[in-house]
Chain length 384, copies 4
């Protein structure tokens, strides 16, 4: 396989969806892939309309994902999709991802991977059995300066890490507290669709993934205080965690959807014995390094002195801001290395994108959080 564009399929992401178009733009930004097939909605009419709007060949627009699998499987190798992006609500991930993997397709899946740890572990087994690629779009770790942060921690520049603070506050549900309207119909608040968690699944897993990616620390135990402020919400819309890590470090993790006025300021602060660092998603092209004299050094995306991973992840030179889509595209770009290798029948190398292991870790995290919250907010050992 030369430089040909990978053939992309999509499940979900029909008209009006938020994250489907992001996946589409991200996957195609570098001209490495082309969307050619999809089952864009559980409503066949909407799926067809979405395919038309995307200008796809109608024969490759399917009424549902099962039909898509069976039809694509029948296509010759040089026509069938190389991978499918699964961008449906959480509760549908497991079965769809499983069936695509088992049918021989590589998969890119939105997060969280599943709605239970057991499902996530099952997918891990299937990934290992099938040898297919499963990439999880924890897109925030696609930012160049997050890669630089990881590099700096790994390099030992910060000394031994003793403390980590990561927060992900959003405010869009705050208004629902006084005026819930029919918000309770939203899938994120519906345990049947979202799984056992609302803001921890939506935001907390991103925060946890970022923390793990940057620091490499493993949670030993945690204490969780979850609250549903929106009347009628059966899942939490605010969660605050204390964390204890193996090796003695301490941490806090905050995820919230009722932090009125906040947009999307995912933020991580890491403190070692020698230095601290800070990164904010709303100002993503910068990384702050804080030295013991109080001098703060701001590195920028595109600086010539960054680590190779950060350089590679920067699409443009310094001062030319990369944004959310570019970071998202970095996940795809790395996954494409693995997918191309798999399509060439070679062993998949270690790549810099979130895998099924991150998906399992995320579900272990959510279940540990829920266990703590439900047992009167006691300290709980992290599940594995």
């Amino acid at each position: 396989m030369s430089n040909r564009k990978l053939r992309m399929g999509m499940v979900g992401g029909g008209m009006g969806a938020f994250i489907g178009p992001v996946h589409h733009m991200a996957a195609t930004l570098d001209h490495e892939a082309e969307l050619i097939a999809g089952a864009f909605s559980s409503d066949p009419t909407k799926s067809a309309e979405s395919g038309r709007a995307l200008g796809l060949d109608s024969r490759r627009v399917y009424p549902d994902w099962r039909t898509m699998i069976s039809a694509e499987k029948k296509l010759p190798d040089e026509a069938r999709i190389d991978f499918v992006s699964v961008v449906v609500p959480n509760s549908s991930h497991y079965l769809i991802v499983r069936r695509f993997l088992e049918s021989g397709f590589n998969v890119v899946c939105d997060k969280p991977l599943t709605t239970t740890l057991a499902e996530a572990k099952a997918l891990r087994r299937i990934v290992r059995q099938t040898g297919k690629v499963l990439a999880l779009t924890h897109n925030y770790t696609g930012y160049p300066m997050v890669k630089q942060a990881r590099f700096m921690v790994k390099s030992g520049m910060l000394g031994k890490i003793n403390k980590v603070f990561v927060e992900f506050p959003q405010g869009w549900m705050a208004g629902l507290i006084e005026n819930p309207g029919n918000s309770i119909g939203m899938w994120r608040m519906n345990p049947k669709v979202a799984g056992g968690s609302c803001c921890m699944g939506d935001l907390g897993t991103h925060a946890y993934n970022l923390l793990s990616y940057v620091t490499g620390l493993e949670i030993d135990a945690l204490c969780a205080d979850l609250t549903a402020f929106v009347p009628g919400n059966r899942l939490e819309d605010d969660g605050n965690l204390l964390l204890r890590f193996n090796g003695g470090a301490r941490g806090l993790l905050v995820a919230s959807q009722i932090s009125a006025g906040e947009e999307n300021p995912l933020r991580i602060c890491v403190y070692g014995t020698r230095m601290g660092l800070e990164w904010r998603q709303e100002d993503p092209n910068y990384l702050l390094l804080k030295d013991p004299c109080g001098v703060v050094t701001r590195y920028s995306k595109g600086n010539s002195n960054l680590c190779p991973e950060a350089k590679k992840a920067a699409r443009l030179i310094w001062g030319h801001p990369d944004g959310f889509i570019e970071a998202f595209a970095n996940i795809y770009r790395e996954a494409f290395v693995a997918i191309r290798t798999e399509r060439n029948g070679k062993p998949i190398p270690a790549c810099d994108f979130p895998t099924v292991d991150d998906g399992v870790a995320g579900m272990a995290f959510i279940e540990s959080v829920l266990t703590s919250a439900k047992s009167s907010r006691k300290w709980t050992r992290m599940k594995r």
Copy 2:
């Protein structure tokens, strides 16, 4: 009593001290007081030297605070000090403050008020018995924009408050983790001098006072994870708390001395049902108000549309930064209103400075935190 300058005494704050000179500058900034007497050190020689450096009449420079009390008491009313500022380490506060109050002097005391809740309550009884003024220098609430924040919360602009985050990370002890040297001799780490807490007493009480001042919320229960990272430190140098407030709000409070590279970025974020606000001590002349549309409004010290308390607390017009000393001076300026009233033999009015009640609350906070930490970090009801 007309506009005459108040006569100020000081206990502690001798040469080389950090906070003594701050008290001196803050108390005299508005030309309302003059330092005329003191026992500046437990070492009589150092006290005498300090007095000389300050240009004081040597007859008013005392070898120790007991001598100071007995000598000042003997002076005629028009000569004796109007108040004393107590700026010694924590464990000495109780006895000194008590004796000055009982001897008829008004007192300004550095925080935390005492080393135990029982002592703080005892001082509260004495304040009530004697009718003297006791002001506590939780200086951060002296900033104009903190007063504006309090006003905005009170006014209902933010809606019902559901979440509060307050952090006070410092980094100056981080270097001691690898190179403790003889740091263990520092009084802040010595339980006999600092009391039962290091960073919670030093920073946590400021954070708690700020939270209480701005939101008016009362903690119902808390869960505390305290750690001593500096080898040999018998008290904590890092602490992370989950908070539950009466009325259902949730919160986090962080205080740390090992957050490498941080200077003094005390920060508070308050989220209501309608809006959020944020204030940072390192950028103290601004207050951010965040609306549900994501529009952020930045108010500045000196704006004509601020509340009266914020206007009064601004010494200069907008764009002319007020700093730490000016905020500190605001505590004194308010206390002087009370002290002048007391000296005129009139009932002390409600003023805008931290009192013995804040001191008691602070000690209740510390003891609650220590109880939680020592009981395997269980949730603990807030003591009163």
Copy 3:
């Protein structure tokens, strides 16, 4: 013509180029166009290699742009390119753009449009004669918050505009001052390739376009101080202008390549009788509005209360940063509306992208600047 993808050609932008790939990503981000043909280099071998790397059909990869024109012209209407993007150095713009227009192709051209005002005016005549689309990629006006700034000025919110300051300092040439090496070979410093200006053509025209787009003001006269700091540079690498506008407003425009340590902080400040506003390219998703009380309001890309143009230009919701590529893509997206209309044989509507008129204005600006600079920096009337 339905929703089919537009067929894109490119002249220039071969391997190793900076701006070619940006055009490619920007043009295809929204899946509205596909690159299918090109003459990517004046070196036929390099052009062929570049085409291969892009996965293009080799029959559509041409050894030079003249061959490209003649070959594409012969293709049936449903195969030939719908537009060509011209991304070569300045001095080649004129002839290439002219020939493509005259041969019936729509054109997207990088800025500045030409190297002389006369050439730019000639292109304007040709555009009018041919009825083809000519879009100029002054990409900075593609940012959503620049559109919001323009809207706010137009709406009268700021009152009458009295002062404008726009600066575009870069630092990448500063190091050449001490170590010019063989930098003098760079085309930007070569009058034969760059035209009569280095930093004014590269950065100044962007700044001028931004100023014009946001304020609608027209320069009456200007005074220019241009300097070449890099030894051997025959063109200026630093330029500072005083501006007087029709109607009485005053302004300053700064463009520099020797402002050491600056990345790409294009910034505009506009002051009216009632309010001021500020926008910075390195923080592009925010717009600051400053009111007479000193209250600063920060609007974000994606806010629900923005003007329709700003909303439309935001690819993602608030808190999800759009970057340089997305802004660039907005120029293409608007140009595509015009190009599709032209391809459908209908009259081209007014669209929100820079046209040949902006190109003419930019060249008038450069020539006015050069006239002032060369006449001992005298005040010079703006050419038209």
Copy 4:
């Protein structure tokens, strides 16, 4: 003379004044001086009232400055004032300063020193003849991080300086453009009181002093565009300058009172061949150093690695913001070293405060600006 407090007198600064109380706070912040005498207003009643409000001995409160001179001169050396602070409008500076100097008093004078260059030069002669101290309160150079900026430039870290940009935009007069009311009565707009310049005298001289202090550069020639936007204003309320320095550097200087919404953001950017730096008065405790790789290093007031002058000028440790008053107090503190020396009859050493030479330079600057502006904005050689 030991550590005794210096005896301070004041001319001007009566009740309701802005800058008088700032001088008072600044002069006494470090307990080195005490205000004991004054002629606070040209209205004797108001002077007396102001003195009473300040708690001064009424015998030292004078109905006018001439009476003050003659009365203070008659006092014994150990009672008379050590220096006088002159804080009246510009046009009164010359005579008052002159008479105090000639009568043997040291003087601290607000800026600009006089209303003409000739007067300034006359004062310089008198200073040299009398051997008295004349300090000029260009207070912005009192900030610690401005001293650090000066140090860094001097040290050669930035390489040869090629470009300087300094801006001082304020917005408080913008509202007067549409509603001038009786603003024309304001002394700043009255040539008889303010001298020949409004915003250049008020703000431009600060900007020029800052530029000179930080860079050491001397202006060779300038081109000035001055405008009066407020109807009826006979002096300029907006001014923009191009600067050429001896040695080849270029610059811009902006001063404005009609930049709506701006508070007091005096800002300087200096670019050398190796690095750039930036400082903003509204965020005064930080200094940004920008390296050629695009890495920005933020130094803070109080950092241990600052130059001695910056360390000395920081009243508090890092993270504890110093403000406007503290910077102002640094001018006084340095002047006091000179004043104490003079009072001890010794030769005055070189100190770090603005002197009569800075006053002369400031007036030469204003006159050069006015010459350019009045000669159709031609380039004008800097007067000396």
